[in-house]
Symmetry: C2
Subunit: 168 residues, 2 copies
DNA sequence: TATTGTTATACTCTATAACTATA
DNA sequence: TATAGTTATAGAGTATAACAATA
């Protein structure tokens, strides 16, 4: 059909491969340190970090799930683990009895604070130290545009929830 | 202690977060298409793609594992899955009886060819379409430098294999 | 009826350690 | 002894579908 999908040229391939390799290595390193410093998976850290940043340290499950890519059941699972460790609490929302509000505890905040320096150090050592000031600005600007583009263009199967159009 | 790890400034955070979000979204989209188009995980696709590019379509397990980040057992597992599907073969190496040579089959090559257009389309739609020509070059150049930096700086626990220096 | 969240389940992936065989 | 690879095992994480409760 009209889609030729011509092969990518060298420059395109280079940017794509470099992006994936860099992010993969960085992710891997960060994962290792989160696990070592705080026995946290990346997702768990992200949940805690988002809560710590949120006003009042609290968010509804749905808002949390929207921020991450996560499935709802996956989030329930992770929230359960965090709750067991006393890092978050879950309670029904006042305004809407269906909703559950997740809140970071002081212990959770402390763990984030404990883990953050190592996290930052890894990012600095692996990523930031390789960037001159000019590169840093350029990288952020370019990737920011890409991110906006991606967010605007749902990847063709964005919300399986309420799937009212299955061409089956 | 002596590690100050001052917080990252806005520009640094921006670049870091943008990098991780962009790569995560891209990875997710690519994964979905590989699964849908060829029932392949990302790792499996990478294995096949590397083999398809290698001279003779063959590589030793070790060389394959070095390219990916993978543990050896993980690679054995994935290679086993690919072998079951007839996408690769495994046979002892002629020169070194300890080694195993993995080779793509014609079926494997066909599958790569079948999957590649969709893969490219995703990358194009999500990443490349957001980049002007100038940005593309800049992104590739910057990330290339970062990659070189990362490769040069082993992440502090690079090769658990033959660990002859454990400061334990 | 639509939305929010949980549960049950099943599966994929990954890593570790023990093991075999060859150099 | 060191290297190449496999196996057994065990655990973490994820998604799907069925479910209960509220709006």
């Amino acid at each position: 059909m009209s889609h030729e999908t011509a092969p990518l040229d060298a420059e395109q391939l280079g940017a794509y491969f470099a992006l994936m390799e860099v992010s993969s290595l960085l992710q891997h390193a960060v994962d290792g340190h989160l696990r070592a410093d705080g026995d946290l998976s990346n997702v768990q850290f992200q949940i805690l970090a988002r809560l710590a940043e949120a006003p009042g340290g609290r968010l509804r499950m749905t808002d949390l799930a929207d921020g991450l890519v996560y499935s709802r059941s996956g989030l329930t699972y992770q929230a359960g683990l965090l709750e067991k460790r006393g890092l978050v609490t879950r309670s029904p929302a006042a305004e809407d009895e269906r909703s559950v509000v997740v809140a970071v505890t002081d212990v959770g905040r402390a763990l984030v604070a404990q883990v953050l320096p190592g996290h930052i150090e890894v990012v600095r050592r692996l990523l930031l130290d390789a960037l001159e000031q000019r590169d840093l600005g350029a990288l952020g600007a370019i990737l920011g545009r890409v991110r906006d583009h991606m967010r605007a263009a749902p990847p063709r199967s964005a919300k399986p929830r309420a799937g009212r159009g299955r061409a089956d």
